[in-house]
Symmetry: C2
């Protein structure tokens, strides 16, 4: 855990989070600035800074994040209509919190613009 990381602090319960999923490896909570009716962040408990710092042996963790996102899309009732998964990496990518996370967004026809 990184004391200065807002996601680590949410995971540790020091900052409140609107959790929709928690397991030993991955947690998911609603984005505080949602861009659509479903906007969930999937976050590994381990403080991995970004895709850039992912170890090769952590690749399957990312795969499990995607499968978990799909499960949450089903829970949210948007799986059939469709949704978007986004991982921002670094400054030009728009990553704000330096703790790897995947956005799950949906609930309306999303904008075709992705960047």
């Amino acid at each position: 855990m990184s004391e200065s990381c807002v996601f680590c602090r949410i995971i540790a319960g020091e900052i409140p989070g609107d959790f929709v999923h928690r397991d030993e490896e991955i947690v998911a909570f609603r984005d505080i600035n949602p861009v659509a009716s479903t906007h969930i962040l999937l976050v590994p408990r381990d403080h991995i800074e970004s895709v850039q710092s992912l170890l090769p042996e952590q690749a399957d963790l990312v795969g499990r994040m995607v499968l978990r996102a799909r499960e949450l899309a089903e829970q949210e009732g948007i799986a059939d209509r469709g949704y978007r998964l986004v991982v921002n990496c670094g400054s030009e990518g728009g990553q704000i919190v330096p703790h790897l996370h995947m956005h799950l967004i949906g609930g309306r026809k999303l904008d075709d613009r992705i960047g």
Copy 2:
């Protein structure tokens, strides 16, 4: 391979593609309508329709797509500045070709809007 799938046909060489990577499992080629100077599509050779049709045992394939995207970001010289990975799923998610693919975009400060 699906005869009606444009990505399967690009992979098979029936439609030209500007490839930046090819291995036994994953190919990558430039998007024909790029939204930034780097806009690459990473596509599994297998015709998997979308995240919705991904089998649990294919989760690590998605992980390898992410690691490959990172490698391509390095090749493109945008790894340090940052980039975005996007997977659209289904109609409201903005998926146009029904063959699983991951967008790697970067080369400028991307728009904060992701949906």
